[in-house]
């Protein structure tokens, strides 16, 4: 998000999902789209069927990579040099969109000077992608009128995640593939409302709608509405809360004043955060922990107070999908048991602080959001009801929403080129830890599995933690399909059932983090991108051996 915010001014998909139908070239990077975003994959397969070209950048030979015209199977963590190589080829072959750069962007000369230093042979050596493939990718992407980039966590979950994202934005600006229909840069968002949670400022550094914490006008507007002065200093991020505490953690500075109490709503950091041992030590060490969730999660068992929350079927409310579409969820049933919706739980606590947060309905809360947040200015429930939702920005009641962003000009004015340089992964492979572990998600499960693992159909399809390994590595370790394998990193140990597959390159392993039996984040490293604070989930060094039965 920080990457697109600095280059374009807005951290969201520039296009709508359906615009993919009309793309001529789709470049998919760091996304197992088929499994993680099935509807997006469906559009991509459709346009490929109709003759569009598909380029996939991924260290794994995923399902979508098998359909690609060009699969750049790069060495993990080398997105920046690869993209610089592609951009250098575009300059060499004179496929640059000069008019677009002149009219819409800034800082191009710094970018060009950097690219002219790039040596393609060196890029090929760093990335393990041949020069010929790099040139071909550059031609396919740059020559088409309507090229779309879709990327996901494979790009962002690196210590250089922000710079990775900026590299893709640079590529789009270099060829003018943005600011129009059917062409743009599209980060695919993971959870159903991760876009909305960002928009609503469940973030330590902005106010709703990404309004500045420092702007006196904005602060005054909120003060008028909320009746209190807003705190001035920026807050700390999730990883600083769970790793910056009284317990020392690798790659983190200890906060001078660590967190002593937490309120956690519908999250399970005990499985989802890197370095679980540190998370557990931090949470156990807190003076006070409150968790609100629908199940007794691994995090909830550590709490002093647990509130039973209502699920999505038990409330009225809006969620914002990856393409910025704000949609209304209608209430199907009354809350299960004695559970309550989260806004009611919070209002209950607030009233004990002497602050009134009772609203008549969720529609009334949205009215307050509309009045305070220009991005959501026209998202009233009565407008969303009986429609398929509206895409932000939507400034007022008469606005029909926005299909694609940055029409005529970028949100920040001019798009800014941000030249990036290669950063080696935080944890290099060694003789003792020779395998590179990539973590991600599986088709049948969702995040920490609290919901999907209680769904019997999904469990039937996928019931245990697997690890993917190249057959050659399997042979060397004496493994056959279905054998148990023990994986160790410098931080922890997990056992998996092995799956031998040529989806993996030799020397690389892949597993998902849905299973508490194999808490993968005991293995992962806590190092993160210094700007976006996104952990390096995609690379850590491990060793693997067969478990004797």
């Amino acid at each position: 998000m920080a990457g697109l915010a600095t280059t374009f001014g807005s951290g969201a998909m520039t296009n709508s999902i359906n615009e993919l139908d009309h793309a001529q070239v789709v470049l998919v990077s760091g996304s197992n789209t088929t499994e993680a975003h099935p509807q997006v994959a469906r559009r991509i397969y459709g346009c490929v069927d109709r003759g569009a070209k598909l380029i996939v950048i991924d260290p794994r030979r995923t399902k979508i990579a098998r359909y690609a015209d060009l699969h750049l199977q790069l060495r993990p963590g080398t997105d920046i040099p690869l993209l610089n190589g592609i951009m250098r080829s575009i300059i060499d072959e004179n496929l640059v969109d000069d008019l677009f750069i002149e009219m819409r962007t800034e800082n191009f000369f710094a970018m060009r000077d950097m690219l002219l230093q790039i040596d393609l042979d060196q890029v090929a050596a760093t990335t393990n992608v041949s020069k010929c493939m790099i040139r071909q990718a550059a031609r396919i992407y740059a020559q088409a009128q309507r090229s779309v980039i879709c990327y996901c966590l494979g790009v962002t979950q690196h210590i250089c995640g922000t710079s990775n994202v900026q590299s893709y934005a640079n590529l789009a600006m270099l060829t003018g593939h943005v600011e129009q229909e059917f062409t743009g840069v599209d980060p695919l968002r993971g959870q159903n409302n991760v876009q909305g949670a960002c928009d609503m400022a469940a973030l330590p550094n902005v106010l709703p709608g990404y309004q500045s914490l420092d702007d006196p006008g904005v602060r005054n507007k909120f003060k008028q509405s909320w009746g209190v002065e807003l705190p001035k200093t920026q807050g700390v991020t999730l990883l600083d809360m769970t790793h910056g505490g009284s317990v020392w953690s690798e790659g983190f500075e200890q906060l001078p004043e660590p967190i002593r109490a937490m309120y956690i709503m519908g999250e399970n950091p005990m499985l989802s955060d890197p370095g679980i041992k540190h998370v557990e030590a931090t949470l156990r060490d807190l003076d006070f922990l409150v968790v609100a969730d629908i199940f007794l999660t691994e995090t909830a068992v550590l709490a002093d107070v647990v509130f039973p929350a209502a699920s999505f079927a038990e409330k009225i409310g809006t969620v914002t999908n990856s393409e910025r579409r704000v949609q209304l969820m209608n209430q199907a049933i009354t809350p299960v048991g004695n559970s309550r919706t989260d806004d009611k739980i919070i209002a209950g606590i607030a009233s004990r602080f002497g602050y009134d947060m009772e609203y008549e309905s969720s529609a009334e809360i949205m009215e307050e959001i509309c009045l305070l947040t220009p991005l959501y200015g026209g998202m009233y429930h009565d407008r969303l009801k009986g429609s398929w939702g509206l895409q932000w920005p939507c400034s007022d009641r008469t606005h029909d929403g926005t299909q694609y962003l940055h029409k005529y000009s970028f949100t920040r004015g001019r798009g800014r080129f941000e030249p990036g340089d290669h950063v080696e992964p935080a944890e290099p492979l060694s003789e003792e830890y020779p395998f590179l572990l990539i973590t991600g998600r599986a088709y049948h499960h969702y995040h920490t599995g609290t919901m999907t693992r209680r769904s019997h159909t999904l469990v039937r399809e996928h019931d245990r933690p697997y690890i993917d390994m190249h057959p050659e590595d399997g042979k060397r370790l004496g493994l056959q399909r279905g054998d148990m394998v023990q994986v160790d990193s410098r931080r922890g140990t997990c056992n998996f059932t092995v799956k031998l597959t040529d989806q993996m390159a030799p020397g690389e392993l892949y597993c998902d983090f849905h299973f508490h039996e194999a808490p993968v984040n005991t293995l992962t490293i806590s190092c993160s991108d210094p700007v976006a604070r996104c952990p390096e989930f995609k690379i850590c060094a491990v060793k693997a051996e067969k478990v004797a039965l």
């Binding site: 330590p204 209190v228 807050g235 967190i259 999250e267 409310g317 809006t318 299960v336 806004d343």
Partner: protein, 133 residues
């Protein structure tokens, strides 16, 4: 039986789907034909999105830790304990020693309310969620 239009809770695609309701129980889900994203199609998670809702593991009553164990209590008691605990830390250490994690699984309205609570009532900007995970 009636059908209620909702949005799939699993991924960022945001498929429109109908929840089939019988006797206050969600018994099935099916795609919306005209929805711009789902277009009469759901993935395996979407088709089975109703299965966790009535799981016997669902939390029903508030729990408070007493003598090291989490025991069911009334809503009033749980809210009192939660408010007192947060107040205690705020008074002892100051508001910036409290951290809040919001949820990408909850609605916009709930996220808005929690960040308002964090900023206006607790008095800190220490709020974040799992966007980076």
């Amino acid at each position: 039986m009636r059908d209620v239009l909702s949005v799939c809770t699993y991924c960022g695609c945001g498929c429109g789907l109908y929840l089939h309701v019988e006797n206050n129980q969600v018994v099935g889900a099916s795609p919306s034909r005209n929805h711009p994203v789902s277009r009469n199609n759901l993935c395996v998670k979407g088709w089975h999105v109703h299965e966790f809702i009535h799981s016997p593991d669902r939390l029903s009553d508030p729990l408070v830790r007493k003598d090291g164990r989490l025991v069911p209590v009334s809503w009033n008691e749980a809210l009192d304990v939660a408010a007192a605990g947060l107040k205690g830390v705020k008074e002892r250490y100051g508001p910036d020693r409290i951290g809040v994690l919001s949820s990408a699984k909850c609605s916009n309205e709930e996220n808005y309310i929690l960040q308002k609570f964090t900023r206006a009532v607790l008095g800190t900007n220490n709020i974040d969620h799992c966007a980076r995970l």
